[in-house]
Amino acid sequence: MTFDTKKRILRIVMVLFIVWPIAQFALTQFFDLSPWKLFGWGMYAAPQRNVRARVLEVRGDTVIDFARPVPVEIRDRFQRFQIDRVALGNLLRPDEIADQILDAYPDLEGIMIVVGTKFIDSKTALIVEERENYIYMRENAQPSENPQS
C-alpha cells in the first residue's frame, strides 16, 4: 500500500473519529443510550442509570402479578436485558423475552413488561424513575388498549 493511500485511509478514520461522538450524543438524547457507551467519550459525563424490569400477566382488561415459576434460561435472559438496556436505552426492546415467555406458557393471554429506569435528573438533581410499558398479546387474544392493574 502506498503512503498516499495510507494517508487517505487515515483521513477517513479521523473524520469518523471526530464526527461519531456528535452522533453518539444525539443517540443519548433521543434513545436514552448511556453516555458511557458506544465510543462517544462520555465516560463520567452522567451517573450510570439503573434499569429494573418486571413482567405482569394480562388477562382481558386487567393486569396481575406474574405468579409462575420462571425457567432459569428466561431469568438469565431477563438479567442480561436489564444490563444491556442500561447501555442501549430505548433502542433495546424486550420483544424476544416476551416471545420466550409466551412460548413457555401457552395458556397466557398476554403479558406486560414494565421497564423502569432510575437516574438523577440533571435539572433537579433528584433521583427519578421513568417507566415504559411493553404489552404483548397472543395473536388470537383481543388486545386491550390500556389494561388496568
Binding site: 473519529f17 461522538p21 452522567a46 451517573p47 438523577i120 438533581a125
Partner: protein
Amino acid sequence: MQLAGGDDPETRGSKLRAFLIILAIHTVAEFWRIALDARDAALDANQPVPWWFWPGILVPGIATALAIVPRTRRWGFALWTAVAVALHVYFFPHAGNHLLLMLLFLAMGAFFDWRDEREQELMLQSVKWLIAIVFFYSGIQKLLHGYYFRGELFAYYISIRDNYEYFFQFITPASEIARMKAFTGAVGEGPYTLDAPLALLASNATYILEIVLPIFLLIPRTRFAATILTAVSFVLIQIAARELFFFGLYMNGLFLFFRRDVNRYAIPVFILYYVWLLLMQLHLIPEIWFG
C-alpha cells in the same frame, strides 16, 4: 494533521518505538486483567471458568512477544488488532471507550511501517490527534450532559464510592459528605449537589480543563506546559476515578507531545506500573488503589 507535528527528527523513530513497546506491554496487561477478572467472577459465582480464559492468557502473550521483536512487530500488532476486534464484538455493547482507543493504536501499529520516516511522522501525528480529541470530547460531553455545574456527578459518586469520598474529604465539609453518604438511591432522593466552593471549583474545572487543554496541546508554543498540566490533571482525576489501565494507555500517548523521546526513559516505569496492577489483580499484594 501537521498541527500535531513538531517532533525532533533525530529521535522520532526512537519515540515511536518506545510508544509501541509500552503499548504492547499495556495491552497484554489489560487483556490478562480481563481474563483474570472473568475467571475470578466465575469462581465467585460457583460457575465454570470461561472457555476463553487460557486462550485469553496465551494469545496476548504471543502477540506481545511478536510486537516487541522488531522483525515481527507489525505481525504482533496485526494479531493484537484481531484480538481487540474480537473483544469488542464479545463485549458489545459494554466495551469501554478506552478499548476503542487501544484498538486504534494497535491497528496503527500494524498499519504503519515504523521504520519508514514519513510513516513514523504520520503515525505520531495521528496518535497525538486521537489523544487530543478524546480529551476534548470528554469535556464536551460533561458540559452537554450537565452534571458538573453544581457538582451533581461527584455528589453521586461520593454517595456510592469510597474513593470519591477519600478525594473530596480534603475540599468538602464532613457534614456535606455525610449527607451524600446517607442517600440510598431511592426515587425522590436528593438533591445530589455540592455546596463547598472548592468542590464546585473542582467539578467545573474538570470539563473546562478537558476542553481547553487539548487545544493548547496542539499549539506548539503552549504544548510543553499543556502536556505537563494534562498529566497533572490526569493524576488528580485518578485519585478519585482510579481508571488505572486507561491512565496508563493515555499517558503513553500523552508522552508523545514531548518534542524528544522522553518516553524511552519511561519504559521501565511503565513495566513496573503494569506489574504492580497485575499483582493486585492476582491478589498477591493489597489492592491499595482500587478502594
